[in-house]
């Protein structure tokens, strides 16, 4: 049955998930968030604001480039200092310009290539992640984005140096995941929450997201679930080894 954590919808502790939310930098960090989904924009905006970031949210790669002054026909915009962006976080799948294309454009720009770019995606596709990291993405977050993800981003911005290697991030604090492992690790860091009748990692017995949980029966005529790359939040049990660099671990365990 439900416990206190759910009851108080108006409660937010000073420490959420055990993290101290007071800004460790004097100036507010400015994040440019890019996502075509209004729902996701609202959520990421709020996550960032709660983590004491100033947020500019736009709905496309084109608008992001316009904001930065990088769009066609314009040189670097005057008064760039006012717009100083400390981090760009973008969805991967967007109509028009994808997050990957946006990433490339930013890395091609002498003015902006130093800005860390984080890619978000609801698809946990190894090849996609690799491609983004190779192109210079700072990190790759599997949606849905959570507070712990944003906290991790803040950490390496506050540190002042932009670590470009995933291994270094993997050696960082215990919650750093390139693949977000949504399981008891995260649940244990949240305030007392509802205890499910079954294990908190996976209320549905089915490990594959393409099968439906009860009471709906699998649709007749549909092909059996295709062998897609495992989505960690559904299939990976939380083991002691899960806290080191998951990207490295996954590369070893998954054969593409």
């Amino acid at each position: 049955m439900a416990t206190n954590g759910v009851a108080s919808m108006h409660w937010r502790s000073e420490k959420i998930g055990g993290f101290d939310l007071s800004p460790s930098v004097d100036e507010q960090v400015h994040v440019l968030a890019v996502d075509d989904s209004l729902v996701d924009r609202k959520v990421i905006e709020h996550l960032l604001k709660i983590s004491c970031c100033k947020v500019t949210a736009v709905d496309s790669g084109i608008r992001a480039l316009q904001f930065l002054g990088l769009d066609e026909g314009k040189g670097s915009s005057v008064g760039l200092d006012d717009l100083k962006v400390d981090l760009i976080i973008t969805d991967y799948c967007m109509p028009g310009m994808t997050g990957y294309e946006l990433l490339k454009k930013i890395k091609e720009s002498s003015t902006f290539r130093e800005i860390p770019v984080v890619i978000m995606s609801s698809e946990n596709v190894m090849a996609r992640i690799d491609r983004c990291l190779e192109e210079g993405a700072q990190d790759f977050i599997v949606k849905p984005v959570k507070l712990s993800d944003v906290k991790r981003l803040r950490d390496y911005m506050s540190a002042g140096e932009f670590r470009m290697k995933s291994q270094q991030i993997g050696n960082n604090n215990s919650n750093s995941n390139k693949r977000k492992l949504r399981e008891s690790c995260d649940l244990s860091s949240s305030p007392p929450s509802i205890s499910f009748s079954s294990s908190p990692t996976s209320p549905s017995p089915s490990p594959s997201p393409s099968s439906l949980s009860s009471p709906s029966s699998p649709l007749p005529g549909l092909p059996p679930s295709p062998p897609s790359p495992p989505i960690l939040s559904y299939s990976a049990p939380c083991s002691p080894t899960s806290l080191d660099s998951p990207t490295r671990r996954l590369k070893m365990s998954i054969s593409e």
Binding site: M1, A2, T3, G5, V6, A7, M9, H10, W11, R12, I16, G17, D36, S37, L38, V39, D40, K42, V43, H46, L47, I50, D91, C93, P95, S122, K143, P144, V145, K146, L147, R182, D186, L187, S190, P191, S193, I194, F196, S197, P200, P203, S204, P209, S210, S211, L212, S213, S214, P215, S216, P218, L219, P220, G221, L222, P223, S225, P226
Partner: protein, 156 residues
């Protein structure tokens, strides 16, 4: 005596949420949204959920329109809409809806019109269920606030 209303309403809300979690309708991402709600944004969850409803209804209409076209259903477009629907559903923790989208997408990738139609019906059903439950939840919350307000009229 006055406070009993607020406490009972809170218990009702908890019961409803527990049910939804147990049924797999919602997952822990919904809890995450609740954690983001505070005094400075007291309506965060209902705002996001209402945006989700608004977007979802558009997507469902589009999906139905695309599938009703017997000549040739634009499966690519269906896939795009489904990706959007999947994304926003997972962002608010609408787990069952998201799972139906995944199955739906598999059918569309096979150009399986019958499978798609069945999936769409299921999707519409799941969506209705969630919407009703969310409205119930928000109503309970409103009532609870009122009841709590009556108990502490001069709270400062």
């Amino acid at each position: 005596m006055l406070g009993l209303g607020a406490d009972r309403l809170r218990a009702d809300m908890n019961r409803l949420l527990a049910l939804l979690f147990h049924q797999g309708v919602l997952d822990e991402q919904f809890l995450q949204l609740q954690q983001l709600q505070d005094e400075s944004s007291p309506n965060f969850v209902s705002e996001v959920v209402n945006i989700y409803f608004h977007e979802s209804e558009k997507l469902l209409r589009n999906l139905r329109g695309l599938l009703m076209d017997r000549e040739c259903s634009d499966y690519k477009k269906i896939g795009t809409h489904l990706n959007q629907f999947m994304g926003s559903s997972s962002s608010i923790g609408a787990k069952r809806i998201r799972n139906v989208c995944v199955a739906f997408r598999a059918a569309s990738e096979q150009n399986n019109r019958a499978g798609c139609l069945r999936a769409l019906e299921l999707l519409e059903h799941e969506y209705c269920y969630l919407k009703n439950k969310m409205h119930e939840l928000f109503q309970l919350e409103q009532q609870r606030l009122l009841a709590a307000g009556v108990r502490y009229p001069m709270q400062n």
